[in-house]
Amino acid sequence: MTAPSTVPTSGLRARLQGRSELGVAALLAVIAIVIAVDTANIRHTAINAGVMGPQVVPTIIAIGLGLCAIALAISVLRGGHADAEDGEDIDLSQKAHWPTVFGLGGLILVFALSMDFLGFVIGSALLFFGSALLLGSRRLVWALVIGILLAVGTFYGFVLGLGINLPAGLLTGIL
């Protein structure tokens, strides 16, 4: 499963790393601008005319985020960088394996979009199965069986135990 990612030269990698943190600063700046634009569009009504309207706090946040973006950019350009989070299951010597990350994200999105049609049981069993495969499980049958058991168990646990009805979707009438 360890897809050997192309190993860049260390110089290029260092430069990429620096650049990616500048991207974060840019993102902060973008969020600040979005808030500022959104705040500027708040309609002025009579009720806003009180002491402190709904614009004050968003304005402060936008300014704060903007300042953070600038400070972060300066700090990164001066060579500062943060350490990524480490952990027992984490191997930071490998580069991020994007197919896994985007695959998982895509699965969650598909799960959300198909919930009403497929229902909770089919959707979440497939979510578990797909995630386990993406994360490197080789025992396909096991992953599928565990996924189905989890999904069916949770469904009945919620319906019978907690009185919360999860959508049955395609299996309406069967479950």
Partner: protein
């Protein structure tokens, strides 16, 4: 002795067969989930929150108390047996605990952690019984300016004092405040950051925020860098302690409690500092200080007690002021809000039965935990060997379930994914997660208090300084912000104490090769420096 009467009433409410069953389920599930590697107490509480949806308020709070303590104990088990602290508070436990386990003394490490947690949790909850009404009595007389000041204090504390980088801590805080902004403005009803999306007008559910940041962000981050093959865990028998272990443990337990509780009780938050202080204190006081670094039992007993005492301490600002200062406390606020309960000084007057039942169930949860976990420890240890693909697939499964169940909206799952991506970025770029969640939860409340302060004074900002407590708090904040850089500058001038320009070298990581996203980097750094100095 009014509190004692009230507490007894709480016990009589909590000690029904049904409620005991809820507490038992809570403790079992909390420990089982908390013990899973990579799942800290905050994630445990967030993931198990949907389970309490269908219960009545009392039942769910009791189950919650069980989950809370179970999750924390589970976290220490993981630290000791696998060397992977789920939250910064158990980082110090891993230091000596894992060394003990490697030396074949895992049973004793688990025992001193469990009994120490029980002793500290019970004593500290007892302290809560007496301190909380006292704080309430003061807090009830406080006006909006003081509340606003304390919230600013909590913000500054979680974002600049605990983390490794102030800029990143503050950026996290502002991102959290931005998330809290989404929805209709509480006072004027104007939509903010809803982008015309009606589903956003009610704001983003705190459960979704918590699960996204803690569970999805973590799972995605680990997925990107998954180490293949299961790390070696240390099998362990039923925890027990010999006479000598008791002798060496009881004083650290008590000292840890004394150190932990006050740190939890001031709204500066975090068990990170008290656990570290306890570790240092025990190392200094121990007759066996040469064993430190090779598995000294005092180094587990003290910090574990400090951790639990400070967790009970955080309930003081949480219940009396409505200020969450740890990630777990932040998720607990979400649980309260679900029932329309807003922690604060009024809570003790409007819902005394509920509050005292909750406090009573903390005692019960703590006792159940000890009774269950000593015999069950070998079983928990087996959970550590769960294959990683199933573990993280399961986390995603329950995370999406929790987000969906929070409002029965598939839209919540989409939000979950977006905020999960944010959690991933936070881990990748060293942004602390705690300020995000605290900002998102306290932001709207802070705005309300700010408005109130200004309403009274008809817009004059001087009103913010109109109460003595507010002035004191702002002074402390200024000291917090100004003193450390000055010391740093002085050091750079006069000593060779300049921070290392290059990153920490890998050999420094071998003590315990991990750091968590909620700001433990600094403690690790300090411990390492202490080590090297020796």
């Amino acid at each position: 002795m009014d509190n004692v009467t009230l507490l007894m009433e709480g016990f009589s409410n909590a000690l029904t067969l049904q409620n005991l069953l809820f507490a038992l389920i809570g403790v079992l599930l909390g420990t089982a989930v908390g013990v899973l590697p990579g799942i800290g107490p905050a994630m445990t509480v967030a993931l198990l929150l949907p389970l309490t949806y269908a219960l009545d308020v009392t039942g769910s709070l009791i189950m919650f108390a069980g989950i809370y303590y179970g999750g924390m104990y589970g976290g220490s088990t993981t630290s000791i047996l696998l060397n992977t602290p789920g939250e910064s508070s158990s980082v110090v436990t891993a230091l000596e605990g894992n060394k003990m386990a490697k030396a074949g003394r895992g049973a004793q490490a688990l025992a001193t952690a469990a009994i120490g947690s029980f002793v500290a949790g019970t004593l500290a909850t007892g302290a809560l019984v007496f301190v909380a009404p006292f704080v309430v009595a003061i807090a009830i007389g406080l006006g909006a300016p003081s509340y606003f000041a304390m919230m600013v204090f909590a913000f500054v504390a979680v974002s600049t004092v605990l983390g490794a980088s102030r800029i990143r801590g503050l950026a996290s805080l502002f991102i959290g405040l931005t998330i809290g902004l989404v929805g209709l403005d509480g006072t004027t009803g104007q939509p903010r950051l809803t982008f015309g999306q009606p589903l956003l007008s009610g704001g983003i559910d705190v459960v979704v925020i918590a699960v996204a940041l803690f569970a999805v962000g973590e799972a995605l981050w680990i997925a990107a860098h998954l180490r293949h093959g299961t790390p070696a865990t240390i099998p362990v028998g039923v925890p027990w302690m010999g006479k000598d272990d008791w002798k060496r443990s009881w004083k650290p337990w008590l000292r840890g409690t004394v150190i932990g509780f006050p740190f939890g009780a001031i709204p500066a938050g975090g068990a990170e500092i008290p656990t570290f202080l306890s570790y240092v204190a025990e190392k200094k006081l121990s007759k066996n200080s040469e064993q430190f670094g090779h598995g000294a039992i005092e180094g587990v007993a003290g910090p574990e007690a400090a951790n639990n005492a400070s967790a009970a301490g955080t309930l003081v600002p949480l219940l009396t002021l409505g200020l969450p200062t740890t990630a777990t406390a932040a998720v607990m606020i979400a649980a309260f809000n679900q029932y329309g309960i807003h922690p604060g000084p009024l809570l003790f007057q409007t819902e005394p039965v509920l509050v005292w039942t909750l406090i009573a169930s903390l005692f019960i949860g703590n006792t159940l935990l000890l009774a269950l976990n000593l015999p069950l420890a070998p079983l928990w240890a087996k959970l550590l060997r769960i294959p990683r693909p199933y573990l993280y697939a399961g986390i995603l499964f329950f995370a999406t379930l929790g987000a969906y169940a929070a409002g029965m909206q598939t839209f919540n799952i989409v939000i979950l994914l977006i905020l999960g991506a944010l959690g991933y970025m936070a881990r990748r770029f060293g942004f602390p997660v705690l300020p995000i969640i605290v900002g998102a939860i306290l932001g709207p409340e802070m705005e309300r208090q700010l408005r109130r302060s200004l309403q009274i004074s008809a817009g004059d900002p001087a009103a913010l300084l109109s109460e003595p407590l507010a002035v004191v708090v702002y002074t402390v904040i200024v000291l917090f912000l100004v003193v450390p850089p000055v010391i740093k500058a002085l050091r750079r001038r006069f000593g060779r104490g300049a921070p290392p320009t290059s990153g920490p070298s890998t050999d420094q990581f071998d003590a315990f090769g991990t750091q968590t996203s909620d700001g433990s980097a600094r403690v690790i750094q300090a411990v390492r420096q202490g080590r090297r100095g020796k």
